[in-house]
């Protein structure tokens, strides 16, 4: 049984059809890619899966449970972590706080602990902190743990976002253009990190990406989206040679 299965999902914004009859099945440990021109509806699909929008039609099933109708935080706690296209970090918080906050749903000490500073709270906070440090070390950003995020360079911010998404211990990680705006060195590093995540943590990864090289390197299968519809699906080689993909994504030849 696939980890995540999306069946016949359709979504309208007002009268505008943003996603049409979308299907997806991801197995545990798989890395899949989603490509398509700007405005094709890729991010909308992410937002639908994570509960920010509610699909007009269709089902989203994670581990046999239909996610439609749940709040974003509930879906996140069920095991879907994500990053955002335009970094959505909490600008006044430190790196460490970011990673700790992603474990919010797993905190047990409750309000009493928060208000009165019980021993249990300190134990649990220390435990979360230790985990957070381990994660930051894995991403190679533990040296900035106590810095406020907005002062960090862009590549590091991207990693913070990734670490934050991992801290919620997802089964499935959605990455929205993880390498956007990175320079070549940062890019190779990020690809490395994504591989490492897949290998060490065994997560399923679903990623939107613009850079063909990255998608082709990382993904086992790729979907191509245009105007809210999947126009092609297959291995990187198949996608690369598909004429419809070339038309839609790379721009038509011989326009002038």
């Amino acid at each position: 049984m696939p980890l995540l299965q999306v069946k016949n999902m359709t979504h309208f914004f007002g009268g505008l059809r943003a996603v049409h009859n979308y299907n997806l099945a991801i197995e545990p440990g798989q890395v899949r890619g989603l490509i398509g021109p700007n405005g094709a509806g890729k991010t909308t699909i992410f937002n639908l899966i994570t509960g920010i929008y509610r699909p007009t039609e269709g089902e989203i099933i994670l581990d046999g449970k239909n996610l439609v109708g749940f709040q974003p935080y509930e879906i996140a706690a069920m095991g879907i972590g994500r990053t955002f296209q335009n970094l959505r970090l909490w600008r006044h918080l430190t790196v460490l706080e970011h990673v700790k906050l992603a474990r919010y749903s797993k905190i047990r000490y409750g309000l009493i602990g928060a208000l009165f500073g019980t021993a249990e709270r300190y134990r649990e906070e220390a435990e979360i902190e230790e985990r957070a440090y381990r994660l930051l070390e894995m991403m190679g950003i533990h040296h900035v743990a106590n810095q406020v995020v907005i002062n960090l360079p862009y590549g590091t911010q991207r990693k913070v976002e990734m670490a934050r998404a991992l801290a919620s211990e997802p089964k499935l990680l959605l990455l929205d253009e993880p390498t956007a705006g990175m320079n070549p060195e940062e890019l190779t590093e990020m690809v490395q990190v994504i591989r490492q995540i897949r290998d060490e943590l065994g997560l399923a990864i679903f990623l939107i990406e613009h850079r063909m090289k990255v998608v082709m390197d990382l993904c086992e299968t790729i979907q191509t989206l245009d105007f809210g519809e999947v126009i092609a699906e297959g291995t990187p080689e198949e996608i690369r040679s598909n004429p419809r993909v070339i038309d839609a994504y790379l721009g038509k030849e011989g326009v002038a």
Binding site: T50, G51, I52, Q71, P72, Y73, A76, A77, G81, R82, F84, R88, L89, W90, R91, H92, L93, E97, K100, L101, A102, R103, Y104, S105, K106, I107, Y109, G110, L111, G113, A114, L115, F116, G117, R121, E125, I128, R164, A165, A167, S168
Partner: protein, 475 residues
């Protein structure tokens, strides 16, 4: 290079800097414990020799607020006179003459501050530094944090008590400042930590004040309206905390009425709905004849003495400090900075906002209850737009998202209002102008987004090794 044109030679500035650095280095060695010992002694000095010293310095009495008013108000009076008699030179001279005696008091006041407060504090703090450092270290090493914290609080309270003991006026101001700290901190939770704009704090305060007053008067006071006390008044003071807590809970319930409609959607709804709520509370109270209506409600037992108010303030600061440092409390900052991301990171945004808001309202209610039992009289007019402006001003003066900021804001504005009291009307022009300038310079307040850890506050300031090489000890 850059010094051209300046009258001070580089050598001189360097010497000045060196001296300053030296002073700074000396002061940096004093732990909080040392400072507290110093201020405690200074207040003790004031207790014993204050009166005679004031007489010797030809001051009418011991200066109420560190002599600030004696020093500042003649200066403002001169300023006002100059504005008022711009073209009328004889008038100006005449009015300056009336100010002159006030002016003559300034040196005395300065000397008083120096002799009573600054010198004893500095000397004792510096002299005791080796000892207090060792003590602070021992306390932190041997015992849990709270032991050291309690000792510090005890010393601090003793200082406040000795200082306030001098006059009724000081006692009152102290309690007002402490209550303002509670209010400001709790509003900062909403406006700073949560990033919403709430206007209903005076309303919550009123609910707490009236609820706890009704309880105490009903149960422990022989009142015209409520009749004979239901319980023996002797146990009253022991039940007082309960009354305050119930007052706080009533305010929380009120907050629920604001929160449910306004947290459904994003935007400015909290600002508007909370504003309407504030007016409703005020107006409802005005219509309830049983609690005095617009005339106000009196006869509250004056149980909120300094130790009680101090204890509540300490508890409030401690709890809010705890809350804002916990991951659960930090969630509200995450919701503020990016709600979508917070949701995607498993944070229940709605619950987070609710909890923070109700918690803030609770403390506003407690502050109201304390206020009522300081004054022994409240009326609905107190809890209006003016109170709102005052609390908002304290929050934004001190700084958003900062416990220290709120304490500083409450203290600063209260002191400012007291010090500028001789200006009468003009006070309400000077203070707003100061605040506007501050807002333009630092839109989030003086100490925004800065937290001081209690551990850092209490820690010793010098290792024992370096204390041995400090020169000039005992000088």
């Amino acid at each position: 290079m850059e010094v051209r044109g300046s009258t001070v030679s580089p050598a001189e500035t360097m010497a000045g800097n060196a001296l300053l650095d030296e002073v700074r280095a000396q002061l940096a060695q004093i732990p909080l414990l040392g400072w507290l010992c110093g201020t405690l002694l200074a207040t003790a000095v004031e207790q014993t020799v204050g009166e005679s010293l004031a007489k010797a310095l030809s001051l009418p009495a011991i200066p109420g607020l560190f002599g600030l008013r004696i020093i500042l108000s003649p200066l403002f009076e001169i300023l006002l006179a100059v504005i008022q008699y711009r073209r009328d030179i004889p008038g100006l001279v005449a009015s300056l003459k009336t100010i002159a005696p006030d002016l003559a008091l300034i040196p005395g006041a300065v000397a008083f501050i120096l002799l009573v407060y600054i010198l004893p504090t500095l000397i004792v703090a510096r002299l005791s530094a080796p000892l207090t450092n060792r003590l602070a270290k021992w306390l932190l090493d041997r015992f849990p944090l709270w032991v050291s914290l309690l000792l510090h609080l005890g010393l601090f309270y003793a200082t406040l008590h000795l200082w306030g003991d001098i006059s009724e006026y000081r006692m009152l101001i102290l309690r007002f400042i402490l209550i303002s700290i509670i209010l400001t901190l709790s509003l900062n939770l909403v406006n700073g930590y949560m990033g919403e704009f709430s206007c209903s704090h005076p309303g919550f305060m009123a609910m707490g004040a009236y609820a706890s007053s009704v309880l105490t008067v009903l149960f422990f006071v022989n009142d015209d309206v409520f009749g004979a006390p239901l319980l023996p008044p002797a146990i009253g003071p022991f039940m007082f905390p309960l009354a305050l807590i119930i007052g706080g809970l009533v305010a929380s319930v009120g907050a629920l009425a604001v929160a449910i409609p306004s947290f459904r959607t994003r935007g400015d709804y909290l600002a508007i709905i909370s504003l309407a709520f504030m007016f409703i509370v005020k107006s409802v109270i005005e219509n309830l004849e049983i609690i005095g209506g617009p005339r106000g409600f009196m006869n509250q037992p004056k149980w909120a003495n300094l130790p009680i108010v101090f204890a509540w303030t300490a508890i409030c600061v401690w709890m809010i400090y705890n809350f804002t440092r916990s991951t659960i409390g930090k969630a509200s900052c995450a919701v503020r900075d990016d709600e979508t991301a917070a949701g995607a990171m498993t944070i229940n945004t709605r619950r987070t906002k609710m909890v923070t808001f109700l918690f803030a309202a609770f403390w506003a209610g407690v502050a109201g209850g304390l206020f009522a039992h300081v004054m022994g009289y409240i009326n609905p007019g107190t809890f209006g737009v003016l109170k709102l402006s005052e609390v908002l001003a304290m929050v934004y003066l001190g700084g958003l998202n900062s416990v220290v900021g709120s304490i500083a804001g409450a203290l600063g504005l209260q002191l400012l209002m007291e010090v500028l009291r001789p200006l009468e009307l003009w006070k309400w022009i000077v203070i707003p102008i100061l605040l506007i300038v501050l807002m333009i310079r630092r839109p989030t307040g003086l100490i925004a987004f800065t937290e001081v850890k209690i551990e850092d506050l209490l820690r010793p300031r010098q290792t024992l090794r370096s204390s041995a090489q400090v020169p000039g000890e005992g000088r």
